[in-house]
């Protein structure tokens, strides 16, 4: 049976953990050749091991890179083209949460750090990937925003600003590139149980973080955290040829929480 990503090349950043890893596993199972990018080389190797268990024939290229460094971004794009010859899908996902505190205490260094990864990193990736896709006349980009990019969450000035920025960038470029056969969208995850959310709960509750987690999901209409593989399915759908008329949209995946009053 033919699979949705047979013969397709997909780049995933932040693939060494959490949502990037889950998306990589799903898309590899569906036949893609993958370039996996992360700061954390060990994380990348672990993801590759997991992929080869579920998709033994998968071709996987690992590139250690900091997405906030433009040269390193250019390098992971160039390498992908050199080795696989094209780019069909791009999950522009690497991100960090930053400190949780009041805006007046956040600090300009922390602000720059979060923006440089979450917003500049996403822009650099789009810039180089779009050049390749425009020449091909096809491709799909999916940026990872957050519910913090469509709603006020509080105590996350840098994160929230960066994720709102990701959504603005998504809409702007989607309008530009639709005519070239390229669609660009964003997802807005709510609380999904990954290393990032564990870290966030630890910022709030220390050793008591699991209890804090239980309290934290109470307002969620589904009363639970999302699972990374649930995000993996959505990413695979939006990057596949099944979603070709979906363009410039933001898809929340949050158990309904962002619409709750």
């Amino acid at each position: 049976m033919s699979k949705r990503f047979d013969e397709q090349v997909v780049i995933i950043t932040g693939a060494g953990s959490g949502l990037g890893e889950a998306a990589a596993l799903q898309i590899a199972k569906e036949g893609a050749k993958l370039t996996l990018v992360d700061l954390n080389t060990e994380g990348l190797e672990k993801t590759k091991e997991k992929i080869l268990k579920v998709a033994p024939e998968a071709e996987v290229l690992l590139v250690t890179a900091n997405v906030a460094n433009e040269k390193e971004v250019k390098n992971y794009v160039d390498k992908t083209v050199e080795i696989f010859g094209r780019i069909d899908g791009f999950f522009n996902n690497a991100g960090i949460e930053g400190k949780q505190n009041l805006t007046e205490d956040f600090g300009s260094e922390e602000f720059d750090r979060v923006i440089s990864v979450n917003l500049n990193g996403v822009f650099y990736g789009m810039q180089y990937v779009l050049k390749v896709m425009r020449k091909q006349g096809s491709g799909s980009i999916l940026n990872c925003a957050s519910v913090g990019g469509i709603r006020g969450v509080g105590n996350q000035s840098g994160y929230s600003a960066s994720k709102h920025g990701v959504i603005g960038l998504t809409r702007n470029s989607a309008i530009e590139y639709g005519q070239y056969g390229i669609n660009i969208n964003a997802i807005a995850p709510g609380a999904i149980m990954t290393a990032m959310v564990e870290g966030s709960l630890k910022q709030m509750g220390g050793d008591n973080w699991e209890e804090v987690g239980k309290e934290f999901v109470k307002p969620n209409p589904m009363k639970r955290f999302g699972r990374p593989e649930e995000v993996g399915y959505l990413v695979a759908f939006l990057l596949s040829n099944e979603a070709t008329f979906i363009n410039a949209t933001v898809v929340p995946i949050d158990g309904g929480q962002s619409y709750k009053y």
Binding site: A174, N183, F237, I246, A248, T249, P252, I253
Partner: protein
């Protein structure tokens, strides 16, 4: 693996456009389908097409805005297939007319099909789904539930209503295993759009083309299957970028 193996799906507006294409895909993915429409013109040949490929399908003639007709849809469905797992709540009508010329009767007609009908069909689905422990509802709203346009007051009001109905039902049943989401199509190449208007609509869409019913069907399949298990009270806009402008 088929994504909807042995699921029973009701599809309103099921013999034309987006509904019909979704029925084809659902059957391919293993579902048994109940096609609902007030127009039975092509119903028999379409049921034959689906069953000819080894699928199970029945047609029930009904006006989704009639309580009696809708009750009958569920009776026929339960009699034939025993349960309802999926509702694709998609029947709709559109009419473009300047508001100063619109009669109240015309306004009521559009709202009664597009909003009241959506509510009625969903309400009975929920009652059945609560009996069996859960299910999935996908409502067809429209990108004109998000943005306005001249000459389409009744339709746009109804579709905006469908979006907030979707959110409200999604939240109400989130812990009872009924997920409710909406599809918001842009300009899609179906009989609802007059032929001589299509080029204008291509020109105003960022992708410079109309969407296809197949593309809608794939989005509906995603929302109807377990692939979207953490999504509820949500909307999926499939409009080639129109509403981001």
């Amino acid at each position: 693996m088929a994504k909807l193996q042995d699921k029973v799906a009701i599809i309103t507006g099921g013999v034309s456009g987006i509904g019909a294409e979704t029925a084809r895909l659902f059957v391919k993915e293993g579902a048994k389908v109940v096609l609902v429409d007030w127009n039975d013109q092509n119903a028999k040949s379409f049921v034959d097409e689906l069953t000819g490929q080894g699928g199970e399908a029945i047609f029930v003639k009904a006006d989704v805005a009639s309580e009696e007709d809708v009750a009958n849809v569920y009776k026929e469905t339960i009699d034939t297939f025993g349960k309802v797992d999926i509702l694709f709540n998609n029947a709709g009508i559109g009419a473009v007319k300047p508001t100063e010329k619109l009669t109240y009767a015309e306004y009521r007609k559009t709202v009664s099909v597009d909003l009241d009908g959506t509510f009625l069909v969903a309400q009975l689905a929920i009652k059945e789904m609560l009996k069996t422990g859960g299910g999935v509802i996908v409502n067809t709203a429209s990108m004109y539930g998000w943005v306005g346009s001249p000459g389409s007051a009744a339709y746009n009001a109804a579709k905006g209503g469908v979006i907030n109905l979707t959110r409200s039902l999604g939240l109400e049943y989130a812990t009872r295993n009924i997920r409710v989401n909406a599809l918001c199509p842009g300009y899609i190449d179906t009989p609802i759009i007059p032929e001589d208007y299509k080029q204008t609509l291509r020109d105003v869409t960022p992708m410079k083309r109309l969407g296809t019913s197949e593309e809608m069907a794939k989005a509906v399949l995603f929302l109807a299957s377990d692939d979207s298990s953490f999504m509820t009270g949500n909307t999926l806009t499939v409009d080639g970028g129109f509403t981001a402008q």
